[in-house]
């Protein structure tokens, strides 16, 4: 579908000719995102009519108004490293936020940073380390957008045990509403005086994010304020070695471990205690499988390492965690080590011995989330997350087990997905309430139609199973599907969640200007 020429000229007038394109091949680079082949059956989803690249909120505002006037849907793109960046509607305009890449402010006293959409986690971390602070790190890793992971998408990651997930870190926002109005909330609107959540005033955080983030479905966020946390490491990290397995010097006041447990119950008990004792800087499950990927530079190395491991030993790998401790002093670190030792003893956990290089890799993975992309994608080319659980620690671990029995085992036996040890999950604990977050991981080959089919089957089965179990979330991590039909099916099991989301969408975007895929349409 071609863009109306009047609309094109209107957009060109806003951003200038260098920052708009209708070239088919360039447009194709915006409708190819990971998992398209599972979601829409092809690497390419609907081709957008154009891509524009604004530099300021006023330009975004003008772009949204043009979209509204000409009946074009729009969706912001930050890094585009997410299934939710899918292009689904026609005509649709991609708004690439790449030029809005400024760290607006780091308020050391109030522990707040204000960033534009294209500020990566890596960039913000580099700057905050200099003043003894750090942000939440989402699992997408260092290239992920801070704004996307905080305001627009879920935001789970390895440091969640000490920072909580993205939704708890959003303090304010600059928001271009679908009608083109600009709304500024929290420190973004009121300056960086100390504020409570996104106040003063009534909070709109629930509206902005819903459960898992609106993924662009409510307009375009052009700034967000995020919470920062104390950083006890040096002002700058020091890499060692070379590619592909750079190491990292571990500061004296950090400790990093891989721990294994004799079974799921012991693992759950340990996770409860780890949360209660508030000693951890970072934590993620699984430990051993992640460690083996981190410490190998290629699939060839990985296979050489694991191919002779007996099945019963490999099975234990599921019940393992990576844990990092940080401390402001040697005494505090000694205390945390002691506590860790005690709760390991109480739960039957054991520390896996690692050398200094691997310890550096664990440290890096904990503080920057580096390595999750390798762990997710290197094996076969792609992966999906389905189902997901967002419940108590015991519940999420139970769902991992049920998913293994009722969904994953059969798929594994087909040989069409990567055959992990049982319970292939990624899981973290949220520090504020001890809630668990668990994602069932399926790795598949996007170039192999049979592999894609089996993976699609897993997602479909998960849709049905979470309703049957009354536990978990269906496809991906947003409680939302890109398909209206799936949403309708989920509505009966969602305690009016879908109904309320639709009401919010209708109130803020009655004409559905903001792309609805991975959010909700305003239709009842």
């Amino acid at each position: 579908m071609a863009l109306d020429r009047h609309a094109y000229h209107a957009l060109e007038d806003i951003v200038g000719p260098e920052y708009i394109t209708q070239e088919p091949v360039v447009l194709d680079t915006y409708c190819y995102v990971w998992a398209n082949e599972v979601l829409v059956g092809d690497k390419f989803s609907a081709r957008p009519v154009a891509v524009v690249m604004p530099e300021a909120v006023e330009e975004v505002q003008a772009i949204v108004r043009v979209c509204s006037r000409f009946g074009i849907r729009c969706r912001p793109f930050a890094s585009g490293f997410e299934t939710a960046a899918l292009t689904a509607s026609a005509p649709m305009l991609c708004v690439d936020m790449r030029r809005m890449n400024r760290i607006v402010e780091i308020d050391r006293k109030n522990k707040i940073a204000v960033v534009e959409p294209y500020v990566s986690q890596a960039a913000l971390f580099i700057e905050t380390m200099k003043v003894g602070l750090r942000p939440n790190m989402i699992g997408a890793g260092p290239s992920g957008s801070v704004l996307a992971g905080t305001a627009a998408h879920f935001g789970s990651g390895p440091t969640n045990i000490s920072t909580d997930f993205g939704g708890r870190n959003l303090l304010g926002i600059e928001w271009v509403l679908p009608d083109g109005d600009i709304l500024r909330l929290g420190p973004v609107g009121a300056g960086s005086a100390a504020v409570n959540a996104d106040g003063p005033g009534p909070s709109l955080r629930g509206v902005v994010r819903g459960y898992g983030g609106a993924n662009g479905g409510l307009g375009i966020f052009t700034k967000c304020a995020v919470k920062l946390y104390p950083w006890y490491g040096p002002p700058k990290l020091t890499a060692t070695g070379g590619p592909p397995n750079y190491g990292m010097e571990v500061p004296g006041n950090f400790d990093d471990y891989c721990v294994v447990f004799p079974g799921r119950a012991a693992l759950s008990n340990f996770m409860h205690l780890l949360y209660e004792e508030t000693i951890a800087f970072a934590q993620e499950r699984p430990g051993l499988p992640f460690l083996t990927v981190l410490s190998t530079g290629s699939n060839d190395e990985l296979y050489s390492l694991v191919k002779d491991v007996p099945e019963e030993m490999a099975a234990l790998a599921s019940y393992s965690l990576l844990i990092s401790l940080d401390a402001i002093s040697a005494r505090e670190l000694a205390y945390k080590r002691k506590v860790l030792g005690e709760i390991l003893r109480a739960t039957g956990g054991e520390i896996v011995p690692v050398d200094e290089h691997v310890r550096g890799l664990l440290f890096n993975a904990a503080v920057t989330a580096q390595g999750t992309a390798r762990a997710a994608f290197r094996a076969a080319g792609s992966f999906i997350i389905s189902p997901v659980a967002e419940e108590s620690i015991d519940s999420v671990n139970a769902m991992g087990a049920r998913a293994e029995e009722e969904i994953v085992a059969e798929a594994r036996a087909s040989g069409k997905v990567v055959a992990h040890p049982p319970e292939p999950v990624w899981s973290v604990i949220y520090g504020s309430d001890g809630c668990g977050h668990l994602e069932v991981i399926t790795q598949y080959d996007p170039a192999d139609p049979a592999s894609c089919n089996v993976t699609r089957g897993i997602a479909q089965k998960a849709d049905a199973k979470v309703a049957e179990w009354g536990l978990g979330i269906n496809l991906l991590e947003n409680a939302l599907s890109f398909e209206e039909a799936s949403l309708t099916a989920a509505a009966a099991h969602s305690v009016d969640f879908v109904k309320w989301m639709k009401r919010i969408k209708k109130a803020f975007d009655p004409h559905n200007v903001a792309e609805s895929a991975f959010y909700v349409s305003p239709e009842p």
Binding site: D28, T29, Q443
Partner: protein
């Protein structure tokens, strides 16, 4: 390999954008996080390795045709290989090879940039990529007492390369380089007007046939001349001789050495003694072709197969070539050996160094982009307090010098040869 052979891998990019940045472990300053000049300058995703991977798939699927803008997207890239290093930290992927194949595909389909066609025309007529008269290729050495091969015999062939041979602004440097070897008593000779292009630039532009012609000719020439070692001050020639000829299956027994490596040996042996103080704070610009792109080619024969369901492996295992084994230490050893010189590193160095801007046919087709890229590098050098940026390649020196002219930075652009000469 043709683009079609990579079809499956083209479907496995996940658009993570790691190819745009230097590896995250080595990021040190938020001003200098990007590794890819192309995406930094042109912004749209197509101007990244991932974008070109997607474009390749789009082309293979018949979704797009090769237009002028398509060619801009393909060729506004120095083929510096920074993307390849960063991608391989996370993935078993070969973005550099896919991009080479895309260029070759464009040429096969007759979709060529006029500026590149001029270069290739000049190459065909004059055996150099600058289109200069072949008869004058040896003029740079006029007045030097040196053996001329193959009429005379020498153990070491000094190969100047097209840029050093014809660029008068580099004349003092290349003569100095040869002079250092002669002064050290090395049994060295040159080919003079009979020297030919290495073919590397044509390879990067996608003209694979031209490359093959020069590869065979040069290997035959070395064999006929009976040289044991080819020394070149040009990073592009070095990479072409050492890596691309090997990749292309050209058999020879000649040792390929960059001049900085050779000089570092001579310094270690005590044959060259640097006694003069050079009171200058310098930083070193790693030429892409001497650094990451010079990582030796790894020949591998076997099968790519799936185990444990869909885990993709090579059988037998294949070495991952990710830039770590380029020439990084020899130039630094030379700089550290110069009395009085203060050496400071930039933020993007070694396998994750920022390109000078000249490679891949960019200097010829998009000179403004080349100059912009070089200016970024000069700014980085200034940011670490350097008074001079030192490199080890004629292409880099010329491009950095041109970008530095009249911009008020006050930064000198030097080749290591210039500094070694000063220190003698």
């Amino acid at each position: 390999m043709s683009l079609d052979t990579f079809r499956d891998d083209l479907m496995r990019c996940t658009r993570c954008s790691y190819c745009k940045w230097v590896p995250h472990q080595v990021m040190s300053d938020t001003r200098f996080l990007t590794g890819c000049p192309s995406i930094k300058r042109f912004n749209f995703h197509g101007w990244s390795a991932s974008g070109r991977v997607i474009a390749s798939l789009s082309l293979l699927k018949g979704r797009t045709e090769i237009t002028d803008r398509f060619l801009d997207m393909v060729y506004q890239c120095q083929m510096c290989g920074a993307c390849d290093v960063s991608c391989k930290v996370e993935r078993d992927f070969e973005p550099y090879e896919y991009m080479l194949a895309l260029r070759a595909r464009c040429v096969e389909e007759g979709a060529m940039l006029p500026e590149h066609m001029d270069v290739i025309d000049g190459l065909r007529r004059q055996d150099n990529v600058l289109g200069q008269p072949k008869a004058r290729r040896g003029d740079w050495a006029d007045g030097l007492t040196v053996k001329h091969l193959p009429t005379e015999k020498a153990e070491v062939l000094f190969h100047a390369g097209c840029r050093f041979a014809f660029d008068e602004s580099l004349r003092q440097t290349v003569r100095g380089g040869l002079g250092l070897l002669i002064g050290a008593g090395v049994d060295v000779g040159i080919m003079g007007a009979e020297e030919n292009c290495c073919g590397g630039r044509s390879y990067e532009m996608g003209y694979v046939g031209e490359f093959a012609k020069y590869a065979q000719h040069n290997v035959d020439t070395w064999t006929t001349a009976g040289v044991k070692c080819v020394v070149t001050p040009c990073a592009d020639c070095y990479q072409t001789f050492k890596v691309l000829y090997d990749k292309d299956g050209r058999q020879h027994t000649v040792e390929i050495v960059h001049l900085t490596e050779y000089l570092a040996r001579l310094v270690k042996q005590g044959t060259i003694r640097m006694r003069n103080t050079v009171p200058l704070t310098v930083t070193y610009h790693d030429p892409c072709h001497l650094g990451r792109l010079a990582d030796p080619w790894g020949h591998w024969e076997g099968e790519r197969k799936k185990v444990r369901g869909q885990l993709l492996i090579h059988d037998p295992p294949k070495r991952k070539r990710c830039g770590a084994d380029g020439v990084y230490e020899a130039p630094r050893e030379l700089l550290r050996a110069i009395p009085g010189l203060t050496f400071v590193e930039m933020h993007r160095i070694r396998e994750y160094g920022w390109c000078c801007g000249a490679g891949g046919g960019v200097l010829e087709a998009y000179p403004d982009f080349a100059s912009w890229t070089a200016a970024e590098r000069l700014d980085e050098a200034c940011s670490v307090g350097a008074e001079a940026i030192v490199t080890a390649c004629g292409w880099c020196k010329r491009t950095l010098s041109d970008a530095g002219n009249g911009n008020g930075r006050g930064l000198q652009v030097l080749d290591i040869i210039d500094l070694v000469q000063q220190a003698l």
